[in-house]
């Protein structure tokens, strides 16, 4: 996994470097900034050196979580990302928990009552959920919010946030999150639902389920104790992907609904070639990917004794 993070950051370094011009090309057009100043700035940021030297220096610093300075904001990248990161994580983590809490039970219900009216309704919903683009859904909800005035658009907290008691603070945050959150939740529920439903159906068709029913176990126990636990592995892998996507998965929705998260920051950073800001965000994204996969592997081992035993014997898959 570590080589992948290094490879990924190197490729993105190359991409940004290969793009015509750099952040200072814009400054050169400004007649009030002299050539010497720009040269000085470039030297300050180390941009006058060899490409590989530049990357290596960045990597060594990044390993110590020193991500450099943003050109545009004149602030350390880590501080800049920090505040936005919290907003994004607040949104994506809430959506993550909500969608898993809703999708897994619904998917099981749909799988168990396959072909019934309830299943058809759930399947239809998930078809629409995966097909309607999330930016369009965002516009629809913004239209609803603007027309009814029920939900705020943009901003994270109300003006009087600091004077609210703690429970009202949570509610206030949720209220401001409503539009982007519901867009994200609907999108991810739909995809999850399909997966949960089809895996449960596959498991229910297997012989051990028939055995369990034949020996007289209540159907509820068969589904929850046997089929569901066996169906869990692919979802646990998916949790890993979801954790990796916590940073970037909501970018477009954030941009559209004016949520002050990583989305707009990255968009502007990439477009203005704010090198260290982009690299820093990708680096943290890569670390999230590693953590996500680690958590997924641990969860799978926790759930599946077969894999656990292989680990004990030292034979990793």
């Amino acid at each position: 996994m570590v080589p992948i993070v290094v490879g990924m950051t190197f490729v993105s370094f190359l991409i940004i470097k290969l793009a015509p011009g750099d952040y200072f090309t814009q400054l050169e057009l400004n007649p009030s900034i002299s050539k010497e100043t720009i040269e000085e700035l470039k030297r300050l940021y180390g941009l006058d050196q060899n490409l590989f030297v530049q990357y290596f220096k960045w990597l060594v610093n990044a390993l110590q979580f020193n991500l450099g300075y943003s050109f545009a904001y004149h602030k350390p990248v880590l501080d800049l990302i920090g505040e936005r990161l919290l907003n994004t994580l607040e949104l994506t983590l809430t959506s993550f928990f909500l969608s898993w809490l809703i999708a897994v039970p619904l998917g099981i219900v749909a799988g168990v009552y396959r072909g019934k009216l309830l299943d058809r309704a759930i399947t239809l919903f998930s078809l629409f959920g995966i097909s309607v683009p999330n930016f369009f859904l965002a516009f629809l909800f913004m239209y609803f919010a603007a027309k009814t005035g029920l939900f705020p658009i943009g901003g994270v907290v109300s003006q009087n946030y600091d004077y609210l008691p703690w429970w009202a603070k949570i509610l206030d945050r949720l209220w401001h999150m409503a539009v982007p959150l519901s867009v994200l939740v609907i999108g991810s529920i739909a995809g999850l639902l399909r997966l949960v439903r089809s895996t449960i159906i596959d498991e229910l068709n297997k012989d051990y389920v028939k055995v369990a029913i034949a020996k007289g176990l209540p159907y509820r126990a068969v589904v929850m104790k046997h089929a569901f636990r066996n169906a869990l592995n692919p979802f646990l892998t998916l949790i890993g992907f979801d954790i990796a996507g916590l940073l970037s998965g909501a970018a477009l929705v954030e941009i559209i609904t004016a949520w002050p998260g990583m989305g707009r920051l990255m968009f502007e950073a990439v477009m203005s070639q704010d090198l260290f800001l982009v690299m820093g965000s990708l680096y943290i994204g890569g670390i999230m990917l590693v953590i996500g996969n680690l958590i997924a592997d641990l969860l799978i081992a926790l759930n599946d004794p077969r894999i656990r035993e292989k680990e004990v014997e030292g034979r990793v898959v």
């Binding site: 080589p3 992948i4 993070v5 490879g7 990924m8 490729v11 993105s12 991409i15 940004i16 290969l18 793009a19 015509p20 078809l127 629409f128 995966i130 097909s131 309607v132 683009p133 930016f135 369009f136 516009f139 629809l140 913004m142 239209y143 603007a146 027309k147 658009i153 399909r194 997966l195 089809s198 996507g245 940073l247 970037s248 998965g249 970018a251 477009l252 941009i255 559209i256 990255m266 968009f267 990439v270 477009m271 070639q273 982009v278 965000s281 990708l282 994204g285 890569g286 990917l289």
Partner: protein, 355 residues
Amino acid sequence: MFKAFSFFLEGLYRKSPSAAYSLVFLLFLYFVAFFADFIAPYPYDVQFRHYPYCPPTPIHFFDEKGNFHLRPFVYGHKLVDPVEKRYAVDYSKKYPVYLFVRGEPHYLFGFIKTDVHLFGTKGGHLFLFGTDRLGRDIFSRLVYGTRISLTIGLIGVFISFSIGLLVGSIAGYFGGIVDSVIMRLIEILMAFPAFYLMLALRSMFPIDMPSVLVFLVIVVILSLIGWAGLSRVIRGMVLSIRENDFVKAARVLGGSHLYVILRHVIPNTLSYVIIAATLSVPGYILGEAALSLIGLGIQEPFPSWGNMLSEAENVHVLSAHPWVLVSGVAISLVIIAFNLLGDGLRDYFDVKLER
């Protein structure tokens, strides 16, 4: 050709009616894209400066007194509030709707100069889905926009599947060190957040390019992102295919590696590839729409379903003139159709996919 197609359609209908309907719907849209100049009542860049944000003008068969008219008509609209862009229906003016009406000149298929449009009015204005901020007919722009959204998926899938198939089957066929090198590369590519990778690749090219070039750049970017996932699956399939006797036979008979891969290995993955291709078309449509929406894709005045939506980014415009969202509905419908078609094809070919 036609007979074979109708046979296929019938079989598909028996397996999954919704997939057959989706296929017909999509073919209809390709037809629309092909004849866009003729079907659209106005060219995409004609601005009716006196009608900004005009609401949709519905086609009526009954007038305001309840009388039936055999020939449908539209009412005239008057701008009563130029600041808020509010319109009032002018019941005194009726404009009948004609088929094959003469209007703005255009080039059918790019070289036949004509001024005949499928339908339109004489004197009045026919805005089926209203107009945008410059008074351009949204329905006409939607019709022209099908060209972008429907072709980008096909071309993108073609490019990325050519790469994905070849790389995936080479990795699976040779195995060993070739396999591990390719797989590590793919893992690096897949580790990128797709949206940011798209932005970064787009920033390698200038924003203001000729629209044809922009289109090509977007297709190439989306294909470069899209092939990795496919080649992973293909590799897995090829790993088991190459163990078959017919592969060994082809080698023993003197076929080169490339020949065996192209003629014997890849054809065995085709039914999976067709389904995966259908299901991945929406990704390209969404990618183009997202790029155009944030202003990095197809540039004005050329219409694409994505850049038409960018007007909705202003909340005031969105709440006062919700018909600017119509292209979002179009995107959703097309994606639903592709998803239904893909699911139906899976039933038709009876292939088990890992999703």
